[in-house]
């Protein structure tokens, strides 16, 4: 007598239909249904990632992949006995919806925005989509997911992307080191107050344009900040900004997201540094048996390549896997994707953990 919790392995029904479905067939085994959501962030949509676009990358490697359209595909794996449905989404609202869906396997591929959060949109650079105050903040822009305070490079804010931030006023006490992003924490003792006239010469934009982006700062305002080599590798003036992951006043932030997906794979630069402490520790979304898995990147990462490797390895896990705990297949995908990545495009020694 087998385990009653397990399906009868001799019971065959049509793929993706229950045995009571009118399309029942004795030809295809009854496989477990699993859902993978690929959430492509800003500048990582298919048109922008060349050879790493999905489904084309997978189609070249998996002959059974059925491409319904460029956002929907299915893959029935005869080794795993799993029917995968893969859906590609590109908006913040869809990303949040699937994070909140029981049983989903959600992969984010995009920018970490220097620790501010996953970011969505497809408008031309520059613009508010790069920050947390996009005109349609439910659909585009950053999903605030970072430490309460992050030092952001001034030229990134005012020249490169031109988005509004909430700088920490020099009239306020310096925030506690423990509330700062690890990069700012390392430079905590170097923090000082910058006036508008200290900041303006460091950028191309006009002083008026800059103060508008610094939450309409006045000419006599000061802000906490520091000079340091930024994540970009350049020596830059940083402004300490109030970012946070909860109570941001933004229609959506990580504090408001009730994460209930089964696996969250966060592929962007250094997400283990930026988001792991927030999601796993501050928010307290922890692994719960065979549920709530999460994987993060350890360093600057070519996100589209790592995502393509991850998806391929999950779909080609070489073991029977239906109605089994996910851990073995996720760990396999992690190990193999890390090897694929290290052996191909890795500029930096990043890996999924």
């Amino acid at each position: 007598m087998g385990d009653p919790a397990q399906p009868d392995q001799g019971n065959f029904t049509a793929s993706r239909q229950s045995s009571g479905d009118p399309s029942f067939s004795a030809l295809t085994p009854k496989y477990e249904e699993r859902l993978i959501i690929l959430a492509q962030g800003k500048t990582f949509q298919n048109e922008q990632i060349g050879d790493w676009a999905i489904p084309s990358y997978l189609s070249q490697r998996l002959s059974n992949l059925v491409v319904i359209d460029d956002r929907n595909m299915t893959y029935a794996d005869d080794v795993q006995h799993v029917n995968f449905t893969i859906q590609r989404v590109t908006t913040k609202s869809d990303f949040v919806k699937w994070l909140q869906t029981d049983g989903a396997h959600v992969v984010y591929c995009g920018h970490a925005r220097l620790g501010q959060g996953p970011c969505f949109g497809d408008s031309a650079d520059p613009g508010e989509e790069w920050g947390s105050h996009a005109p349609d903040a439910l659909t585009t822009g950053i999903l605030p997911s970072g430490f309460p305070y992050i030092g952001l490079p001034l030229d990134e804010i005012a020249d490169e992307h031109q988005y509004t931030v909430s700088p920490v006023s020099g009239d306020d006490d310096k925030p506690a080191a423990s509330d700062c992003h690890p990069h700012a924490r390392q430079l905590y003792n170097n923090m000082t107050k910058f006036s508008v006239s200290d900041l303006a010469p460091k950028i191309q934009a006009s002083s008026d344009a800059m103060t508008a982006l610094l939450s309409n700062a006045g000419p006599n305002d000061t802000f906490w900040g520091y000079d340091a080599t930024g994540e970009s590798g350049k020596w830059e003036r940083h402004v300490l900004c109030s970012c946070n992951w909860q109570n941001t006043g933004n229609p959506m932030d990580m504090g408001a997201v009730q994460i209930s997906c089964k696996a969250y794979i966060c592929i962007a630069c250094s997400t283990f540094i930026h988001f792991y402490p927030v999601v796993r520790k501050l928010k307290g979304w922890t692994k719960d048996g065979d549920n709530h898995y999460a994987y993060w990147t350890t360093n600057a990462t070519a996100s589209a390549a790592m995502t393509a490797f991850w998806l391929y390895r999950i779909l080609s896990y070489p073991q029977r896997n239906d109605y089994q705990p996910w851990e073995a297949s996720l760990e396999y995908a992690k190990q193999m994707a890390n090897r694929d990545y290290a052996g191909s495009v890795a500029k930096y020694p990043s890996s999924l953990i």
Binding site: G50, Q60, S232, A305, P349
Partner: protein, 195 residues
């Protein structure tokens, strides 16, 4: 699989045939471990003659024996457990010494690998491209620094890669001057004899 059989399959594979590449790698690994698994079976039979013979073979296989020995779980009786600990420990000392020696040599290599072209969008984070010596320094920390938790290691590695080359060189020099590194690489001064 013979060398010729491997080469024949290897050169037939295209570089995008990941299914074929994975299958070939798996077969190489399975072939390498198959005979060792048989030796582990013989070691576990309880037949004293077979067990002693199998133990001798497993001991001579060094690190190749390690994975098959761990696949069957911990041995039930204390005698086999002690043998396993001694064998596994000694079989790992030599590879560890080789890794340390390689890291030590590569700590001197300041060349950077070429960056391969990719169709990726530009990264937001662009620390200096790591040199061979930088990667060697990180390998030392990952493999040998048991004082760091996993979280601390990745945070420190991230911080290390963001340093300027001069700052990284200073960290590498600090490592090479440390007593623990000198001891590991055999460069320590001979200990003074007790009086």
């Amino acid at each position: 699989m013979t060398r010729e059989q491997f080469s024949e399959r290897f050169y037939r594979l295209s570089d995008t045939d990941q299914v074929g590449i994975t299958a070939l790698a798996k077969q190489v690994m399975d072939d390498a471990r198959e005979a060792v698994r048989a030796a582990v079976e013989a070691w576990s039979t309880g037949n004293a003659g077979q067990e002693q013979k199998a133990a001798s073979i497993l001991s001579a296989l060094d690190e190749l024996a390690f994975v098959p020995l761990t696949e069957k779980g911990d041995p039930p009786d204390p005698q086999r457990r002690v043998w396993f600990l001694r064998m596994a420990g000694s079989s790992y000392l030599e590879p560890r010494a080789k890794i340390i020696a390689a890291i030590n040599r590569m700590l001197e290599d300041k060349r950077k690998p070429p960056v391969r072209p990719s169709s990726e969008p530009p990264m937001e984070e662009n620390p200096p491209i790591p040199r061979v010596c930088d990667e060697a320094y990180l390998a030392h920390r990952q493999l040998l620094n048991f004082a760091e938790s996993r979280e601390q290691y990745y945070q420190n590695a991230h911080a290390f890669l963001a340093l300027s080359e001069d700052q990284k060189d200073a960290e590498i020099q600090n490592l090479k001057k440390s007593n623990i590194w000198k001891r590991l690489t055999g460069a320590a001064e001979p200990a003074s004899r007790p009086k």
